[in-house]
């Protein structure tokens, strides 16, 4: 590994952290906020989906659980606005706990069946939240805003999400280089062979799944706080789950950089489309993109271009 690499990354993080100092418009802060958020979602999905090869189509469920748990914790405990953000950490823990319970039976199922089961899980959670009065039901929940200018609050949110992204990416980095990551790669390559090699597959899968649920849980809490109002449609949408998978696969699952690149590119594309095109057209383009990526770049855009570069 090149020594310049970590240094360049550190400089990039510092530059990103200093970005609000040059006084950008709030729009750009919000945009970057969602880029960071999607990087977190795609990279955490990658723990189980990329390294482990278990394609979850229910990742948004953990995001939503984190959002609702934060909103509920904040109102129940009467937290002052600033502390509400901290409540997203235990909310991430709640998401991880749900993953532990759900993952135990679900991770015994392999391949497309696992994807379908996680998809159903996301639907069930969505429906449950919409029908439980305690969680706001069909109306949703309100959170208290910070009593400060919008720009300051947006800057704070920006920095906090950046911090969470750095932590997520650090975990992803170490995971990729650890024994744990090696075991997950073995599971992705061939779970039966991994089993005959006495790799504790069941344990590794559940650990990866729980870890991958924690980060979207925290991000969901921050997002709820950022919106100030939370509704099931905003966080449990199946589109978010699909988008996460698309981002990670588009960049290249099972690598550290892949989901980052995928999340950045697709958030930019998404933003461009929603500014310049109608929502329906945006969806069609997204769907088409998903098909193109799966057919032509099964290992993601990075691998695609690396191979092209290698041939010439």
């Amino acid at each position: 590994m090149n020594k310049a690499y970590p240094v360049a990354l550190a400089i990039l993080v510092i530059l990103l952290a200093a970005f609000p100092c040059i006084g950008p418009e709030v729009y750009y802060l919000s945009f970057m906020f969602s880029v960071f958020m999607y990087v977190i979602l795609a990279s955490s999905w990658n723990f189980i989906g990329g390294y482990g090869g278990y394609l979850s189509f229910g990742h948004a469920a953990f995001f939503g659980i984190g959002a609702f748990a934060t909103a509920k914790l904040a109102t129940m405990l009467q937290l002052p606005p600033m502390l509400t953000m901290l409540a997203s950490i235990p909310a991430g823990g709640i998401a991880a706990l749900v993953a532990l319970i759900v993952g135990y039976p679900c991770l015994k199922i392999r391949g497309p069946y696992f994807s379908v089961v996680t998809l159903c899980f996301a639907f069930v959670v969505d429906l449950a939240v919409k029908n439980i009065e305690f969680l706001g039901g069909a109306e949703g929940l309100w959170l208290k805003f910070m009593d400060i200018p919008e720009k300051t609050s947006r800057t704070i949110m920006y920095e906090v999400m950046l911090l969470l992204m750095v932590v997520t990416l650090a975990v992803s980095w170490f995971l990729g280089r650890s024994r744990f990551g090696t075991g997950l790669t073995a599971i992705r390559s061939d779970e039966e062979v991994a089993e005959t090699m006495a790799i504790p597959t069941a344990k590794l899968k559940i650990q990866a799944f729980v870890l991958s649920a924690f980060f979207p849980g925290v991000a969901g809490g921050l997002f709820a706080y950022y919106l100030g109002y939370i509704h099931a449609d905003a966080v449990f949408s199946i589109n978010i789950s699909i988008l996460i998978v698309l981002m990670a696969m588009f960049g290249g699952g099972g690598t550290w950089l892949g989901p980052i690149i995928g999340a950045v590119i697709l958030t930019v594309v998404n933003e461009g489309l929603s500014t310049f095109a109608q929502a329906e057209i945006a969806r069609i383009i997204y769907g088409a993109l998903f098909i193109v990526v799966t057919i032509f770049m099964p290992n993601g855009i990075m691998d695609f271009f690396r191979k092209k570069g290698g041939k010439t």
Binding site: R179, G183, A186, D190
Partner: protein, 234 residues
């Protein structure tokens, strides 16, 4: 070193092993032979913890293995090369071999172990970047052996290492196994090549329908009339 005592294994209603016992001492190479379906793989899987026995005990270096997971048994030094080679086809030769050093107590020595494996199997060193799925059967078996050696076994269990190999490749594999044993490795060898197996091992066991039918020094088994007719086709 290893003693299997009175093991019984059931698959549902069917008894695959019935009161089977077996002894291996340090530095030995022991043969396990028997017809198809007689329970040879089952016995190995019980020792490695992949299958739970209904009754009986397995003692490894003075301690019972009961309740240990395959993972723990692997770390205790019992390494199995399962039937049918079982590599990761999408990984390279080198990646496959390194995967053998997954367990924490051998992970640190992985680079040296890898060098040693490549010097044992020079053919693999030339193909280290090739995908395992594209290797010949004999080469795949070498990868499987190399991967097992990465885990620093104290007991190496080989399940039909010459399965599906041409005579020349099989002979090469047997040569290597013999060599490993000479260097001090304790080995339990299952093979259909009965004559070959009984000539390189010191002691042998014969399984018949889940029951240990015969045992004795390999040289004597080779002369046993029953073995001669049933397994040597003489």
């Amino acid at each position: 070193m290893l003693s299997v005592e009175n093991i019984t294994v059931c698959y549902g209603q069917m008894k695959a092993l019935q009161g089977v016992s077996l002894e291996i001492s340090q530095g030995d190479m022991v043969a396990l032979i028997g017809a198809n379906g007689s329970g040879k793989s089952t016995l190995m899987n019980v020792i490695s913890g992949m299958i739970q026995a209904v009754s009986g005990e397995i003692i490894w270096e003075g301690r019972p293995l009961k309740g240990l997971s395959p993972d723990n048994i692997c770390q205790a030094g019992i390494i199995q090369v399962p039937e049918g080679r079982k590599l990761f086809p999408g990984m390279t030769v080198e990646e496959n071999i390194i995967m053998g050093a997954y367990h924490p107590n051998v992970r640190r020595q992985a680079p040296e172990s890898l060098q040693k494996v490549f010097s044992t199997f020079p053919r693999l060193a030339d193909r280290r970047r090739q995908f395992a799925g594209s290797l010949s059967g004999g080469e795949q078996q070498m990868v499987a052996l190399g991967r097992a050696l990465m885990a620093k076994p104290r007991l190496l269990m080989l399940d039909e290492p010459s399965l599906g190999l041409a005579p020349k490749a099989a002979a090469e594999i047997f040569m290597i196994i013999k060599e490993l044993n000479k260097e001090g490795m304790t080995i339990l060898l299952v093979s259909q090549e009965v004559l070959e197996t009984l000539s390189i091992t010191t002691y042998g066991y014969v399984l018949e329908n889940g029951i240990m039918a015969l045992k004795g020094p390999s040289r004597e088994l080779r002369e046993n009339p029953k073995v001669k007719t049933s397994y040597l086709g003489l």
